[in-house]
């Protein structure tokens, strides 16, 4: 049963109409990687790859997590189809956990695909020759867990949560890593950067801002891994508890 819930969730997220936009976006990131050689001529391939991963791939993962996880329950409530799944002999927490894991899987796949294509574009067809690839993939997977857990919780707590989550990704997660002092620690993105350990952007302030390099982020992977794991576990545990004990019936349905 649990495995079916998980595979069904993955299949739903991978439906052609849902996944097509994400594949196109990853191809666009790879295309930018090809063009970037001519824009940042003075940088090495590694530096170019690191900049583009920080600016595009990591934010793409966050955006995919926001859009996919807010649909897990939020869309069911809005479309009023939630009644069918809530009246089946399956525990609510299992249902939510399996759907969450399905979303994390697909978000991670999107991020990994984006990294591989970008690496191929920057390093000339040999994506696996890129020494940053493995830490990036780890950062992407843990980032997918953390962002998805955060957005899932938001979707359970408020209606029309997708707007809030997208604002969080575009505003908070772009700005906070660049803030002075220790404020950068309040961003999931900072811990993804800690795992990835990209070389710092030195000469272009715009690129540095989008990469979160204007702050004082000296976090190490030994901090990034446990923090993202703990944050994900706490957020998802709270979501599972909330979904189990609260009502999820559209208000306007009530007579």
């Amino acid at each position: 049963m649990e495995f079916y819930l998980y595979t069904h969730s993955v299949k739903e997220f991978l439906r052609a109409r849902r996944i097509a936009a994400w594949v196109i976006l990853t191809l666009m990131v790879a295309a930018i990687g090809l063009v970037w050689k001519y824009v940042a001529k003075s940088e090495t391939d590694t530096q170019r790859y690191a900049d583009l991963t920080s600016i595009f791939t990591f934010h793409l993962v966050a955006l995919a997590a926001a859009i996919m996880t807010t649909s897990i329950i939020g869309q069911e409530v809005e479309q009023k189809t939630i009644v069918y799944i809530l009246t089946r002999p399956v525990s609510r927490w299992k249902l939510l956990l399996m759907r969450y894991l399905g979303a994390v899987t697909v978000v991670s796949l999107i991020g990994i695909l984006c990294s591989l294509l970008l690496s191929a574009a920057v390093f000339g067809g040999n994506p696996l020759g890129n020494s940053l690839l493995v830490p990036d993939i780890m950062a992407i997977i843990l980032g997918a867990f953390a962002y998805s857990a955060f957005c899932l919780l938001v979707s359970l707590l408020i209606v029309r949560s997708m707007i809030v989550c997208i604002l969080f990704i575009l505003a908070w997660e772009t700005t906070v890593p660049n803030m002075p002092g220790d404020l950068y620690r309040l961003s999931i993105y900072s811990y993804m950067q800690a795992i990835a350990q990209h070389p710092a952007v030195t000469d272009n302030r715009g690129t540095a801002f989008l990469s979160g390099d204007l702050g004082n982020n000296f976090l190490q992977p030994s901090t990034g891994y446990p923090v993202l794991i703990i944050v994900s576990v706490i957020l998802i545990a709270f979501s599972l508890w909330w979904f189990t004990i609260f009502e999820f019936v559209p208000r306007e349905d009530s007579d």
């Binding site: 189809t81 809530l86 009246t87 089946r88 525990s91 004990i245 009502e247 208000r251 007579d255």
Partner: protein, 305 residues
């Protein structure tokens, strides 16, 4: 056995269900009430989607809210007309069969069986988005009954069904009831359910107004003057004949519309006599209707009583 003990449910300042106490046992029970009476709230409380604000609900000794054990013995056909529109009818029912805990083969077999039962086997492989209202209703019924539940709740299941569908549904429910299942069927239209069951619960503005046998309600209705409106080309001639009938209390003329407004007692006897006059004595009646022959009038009588 479904038991509600002093159950109330508030939505903020609005009350959805007000201090309802009742028991629902095996057989078909109709939950009647006008729109907004609290039928769907009661259904959602029984199916564990909502918690009562006060009072207790018990189904075979189990508390219903978010209780997976309960859903093994309970099937629910919601009023909402919402689906995963990109799915075919078969995929939709199969998915819910898998969520009911069946393996691949058993879920497929049960899906096929239920689609046959609701008359959708030959049309179930099309996307739900293209289904008519009646077809969607049948798919909802299929998902409610595919795990052979002991308790079946159907919220306005006859909406959109054609006469054949209604007849099939009545036969199916009668069959299920004969197997000892507990069936609760909600409706806001009295005539829809009166040939399915005599056992009713009447809800009005969140309160349980009456419970028991529909025939008792009917007899209560029969004691009150019953309104009948008759269209005719000859109002005076028809009135002259009708006034001799023992059940007719009064006749009023609405001459502009060639209509007679009657008050009668024991409406069944009156209708029999009227039919006899039309068929055997050529009474020129073009049509008749009774504004009292609906649920609203039942409530009116009961509230006034």
């Amino acid at each position: 056995m479904i038991q509600l003990q002093n159950v109330s449910r508030w939505y903020g300042q609005v009350i959805g269900l007000n201090d309802v106490t009742c028991q629902i046992g095996p057989g078909v029970t109709a939950l009647l009430g006008m729109n907004g009476a609290g039928k769907s709230t009661m259904m959602r409380l029984i199916t564990g989607q909502l918690r009562p604000t006060t009072g207790d609900i018990s189904i075979n000794g189990m508390e219903p809210f978010a209780n997976p054990e309960l859903y093994k013995i309970l099937g629910y056909c919601p009023e909402i007309d919402k689906f995963y529109e990109h799915n075919t009818g078969r995929q939709f029912v199969y998915y819910l069969a898998r969520l009911a805990g069946y393996g691949k083969q058993e879920a497929a077999d049960r899906t096929n069986q239920m689609l046959l039962t609701v008359g959708m086997a030959d049309r179930a492989d099309r996307p739900i988005a293209g289904f008519s209202k009646g077809m969607r209703q049948r798919i909802k019924l299929a998902q409610a009954m595919l795990h052979d539940p002991e308790i079946i709740l159907l919220d306005e299941p006859l909406n959109g069904l054609d006469p054949i569908g209604r007849h099939d549904m009545a036969s199916l429910l009668a069959h299920l009831a004969s197997m000892g299942k507990t069936i609760l069927i909600s409706s806001h239209i009295l005539y829809e359910v009166q040939h399915m069951t005599e056992s009713i619960l009447l809800l009005h503005r969140g309160r349980l107004l009456a419970t028991g046998d529909l025939r008792v309600i009917r007899s209560l209705l029969d004691k009150h003057p019953h309104q009948v409106r008759i269209n005719t080309t000859d109002p005076h001639g028809v009135a002259e004949r009708l006034v001799t009938l023992p059940n007719v209390i009064s006749i009023a003329f609405e001459t502009r519309e060639n209509t007679l407004q009657l008050e009668v007692r024991e409406p069944d006897s009156f209708y029999n006599a009227l039919s006899d006059l039309i068929l055997n004595q050529g009474l020129p009646v073009e049509g008749f209707e009774s504004p009292d022959n609906n649920l609203e009038s039942v409530f009116k009588y009961l509230v006034e009583a």
